[in-house]
Subunit: 449 residues, 2 copies
């Protein structure tokens, strides 16, 4: 089964795969709430001005306007491209009514006008957690965020989702290093290093020369830095061995080392320092994170984020934050949809038992059985037609409904497990399916095993 969408880049799932997606979302929500994050939901649109980067509106943005709006809108709108910018706006708008540090999660679609490709969509669901402080934000939150993401993916592993590896770096480290070797256009350096995996080191060296004015020695040092990767704080020694010195570099090195020590104390091997991680978005100012789905690295990061100190501010106050965003739709591109799917739902409907209808004149008998079962929390459906029983059983079978109920109002009730064929007497006020059959389950496929 391929995704249903005919409009490229706007994935839609068939009902069985939507069950997979909802189960993934439920496990993320549960993990976030266990960790004290409160849910918010923001509107889909923001003023275009708020979606601008450095005053420049990115052409990936979808603009929104009322058809037949008279003249130009005073306040032109666009669809949000992430959930961080809307949260920053929500926080400043509601600052007097929120308690800080404000821990929130948010699971919604976002929109980007990118060219659709493997794992990249124009509409996709993100699941974000962020902690936002008022005036300041303690560094321990930069440890907490990736650890919550680690827990969330551990919860997903129970379904059959592959393990993940969180990759971390620190913008201060990159910025201090660039400054320490005499490069001033920090944004350009970050942009070049961010392309490391995409274009390879040789091309990054050329780009550093073209875009950041780096000479051969500066290029060599940047590439040496970008190649460093370690799962302990020992990475800092490798950086220091490059002989570059700058106070901001030291700050970044120390912060990243503390992150690795703390995270690996609680969850050994979960967070790795990888110094080529830069992140495209311009608002990060401290730790940045990406996440690899082990064995599926080619789809790109499945959970990314970082610390941003100046995204949310009013005239009087600043609201620094740190967060990560799980790419639910990108994850789904591997979990479901294709023949190489990793997960599948045990059936395509919630229904555990189909009540057969003997003849249309007595449909109410079946309705009453269904009503009694639902009252006791058992998902039940009534056959749409008083067809031959064989046809009604086929109706259940096609949807994966495990039980069919027969009632004739005279001799009573019987329920058949259509997998085993076993048929037994049953009372609508007492019968229940085995717990494993009550709701559809999500299970790993042979492909994913």
């Amino acid at each position: 089964m391929a995704p249903a969408a005919k409009l490229s880049g706007f994935p839609e799932w068939l009902p069985a795969d939507r069950i997979v997606e909802e189960r993934v979302i439920d496990l993320l929500k549960h993990t976030f709430e266990l960790n004290g994050f409160a849910a918010i939901h923001t509107r889909a649109v923001e003023p275009l001005s708020a979606l601008a980067k450095d005053g420049e509106i990115d052409k990936e943005i979808f603009a929104v306007r009322r058809l037949h709006a008279e003249g130009d809108e005073k306040n032109p709108l666009g669809l949000h491209f992430d959930l961080t910018v809307p949260t920053a706006r929500y926080v400043t708008e509601n600052a007097g009514r929120l308690d800080f540090p404000f821990k929130r999660y948010q699971i919604q679609p976002v929109w980007r006008g990118e060219r659709p490709q493997d794992g990249r969509y124009r509409e996709f669901i993100q699941a974000d957690i962020d902690v936002i402080g008022e005036d300041s934000l303690a560094e321990h939150f930069e440890v907490e965020i990736p650890l919550v993401i680690v827990q969330a993916f551990e919860a997903l592993r129970s379904l059959g989702v592959p393990p993940v590896r969180i990759l971390a770096n620190n913008r201060k480290l990159l910025e201090g290093f660039a400054r320490g070797i005499g490069l001033d256009d920090i944004a350009a350096v970050l942009r070049c290093i961010d392309k490391y995996d995409k274009v390879g080191p040789a091309r990054v060296a050329e780009l550093l020369a073209e875009e950041a004015g780096a000479d051969a020695q500066q290029q060599r040092l940047c590439l040496a830095l970008a190649a460093i990767e370690a799962d302990t704080s020992a990475f800092a020694d490798e950086v220091r061995a490059l002989g570059v010195s700058d106070p901001l570099l030291d700050e970044g090195l120390d912060a990243l080392a503390r992150l690795l020590d703390s995270a690996n104390r609680i969850s050994p091997g979960s967070v790795v320092a990888q110094l080529k991680i830069a992140r495209g978005l311009d608002y990060y100012t401290g730790t940045v994170y990406e996440t690899q789905l082990v064995g599926h690295e080619s789809i790109g990061s499945v959970a990314s984020g970082g610390r941003y100190d100046a995204l949310a501010k009013t005239d009087k106050r600043v609201y620094p934050g740190v967060g990560m965003s799980v790419g639910v739709s990108r994850l789904m591109s591997r979990l479901a949809g294709s023949e190489h799917r990793l997960l599948a739902a045990t059936r395509s409907v919630p229904t555990a038992v189909l009540i057969a209808v003997t003849d249309e004149a007595h449909r109410v008998r079946a309705d009453d059985v269904a009503y009694a079962l639902r009252t006791r929390g058992i998902p039940a459906d009534v056959a749409p037609q008083a067809a031959k029983f064989g046809k009604q059983i086929k109706y259940a079978d096609r949807r994966g409904i495990p039980f069919v109920w027969f009632t004739d109002g005279e001799t009573g009730h019987e329920v058949k497990d259509i997998r085993s064929g076993e048929q037994v007497g049953a009372d609508p006020e007492l019968w229940a399916p085995p717990a494993a059959d009550l709701w559809p389950r999500v299970v790993g496929t042979a492909e994913g095993a």
Copy 2:
């Protein structure tokens, strides 16, 4: 607490009210799934051509286009204004991969460029259920749909939501009646009758003259019909007493009478015939429904829909459907947000217990307690700062967190119920809060009682 939004018509809730909204959504989902409806999620955008009514694009639609898109888009898009049109498109696109009758539910935002007013928003969440058949759809589904909505609102009553009354009519009845009295412009007649509650009978009479060319006798008959309301199938006698005869009228009368008999057998008084109900959308062809929130009739219908025979079709097949849509945001305008709120969450965060931090050097001790509690499914958070205990307790109190945990690594652990002040020894591997405190609850307010 007022809704947070500064952009008029785009409601956003503070975290405690989002808990209310999510609880409402969860109860709707649960009811829909107990009744065998499967979830789908469709993209936010549709081709503008698909959003057109009778070929004419409504000016309430929000158009969407990539900023800086080169030239005109080949396939201009708009935000969906309901969930029925996207579902019809989804069904025809996936017809070969769906099983019919297809029972689906869908809970998503929709967008309309209307002037915002009480209970009417530009972005709002709808919760839809529909049954869609292939080639035909049995009439019993027109009974099932309102009964599922009745069950859903019964589930919401457990939170403190007021009762509802479903109002039903039938387009065939209206159309047959109009034809029977010699009026040909059926769309105009429906449009006039639909305004009955808004402008009153005298003005409807004028409109019928102006827009449908009705003479005094025709106006009188239409108003007499529109005034009929009954909670049993006896309404049909009142209509017949008006002396109008038309085969389609008889068909509509019989269908509506059967709906009332069937619905009231299962849920007495839940569905009422009200012959002024016409519904604005043009795609309905059979039964139409509206729903009043008792005591809050002024916000308009909180759950509406109807039967549509020709909305979804391909070259070869037609997919008739029937459904209703719960206006979650409209409901929320009464349930939460204002000082007259009917419901409130017992706290603004999921957290049941806050782990106090004695000093920053030993934050890991608190982290470990939180980790142990979360592993056993208890939502726990760690204090953001090793402030004085009084300040940490105040931090919990402000958010409504009922318990604060103290640990010193030496003498062990104690947990305090900050409502009673009671403090007892506790083991992170064993302690649990009372079930009622584990997660935030949603409760009725004095205002709503």
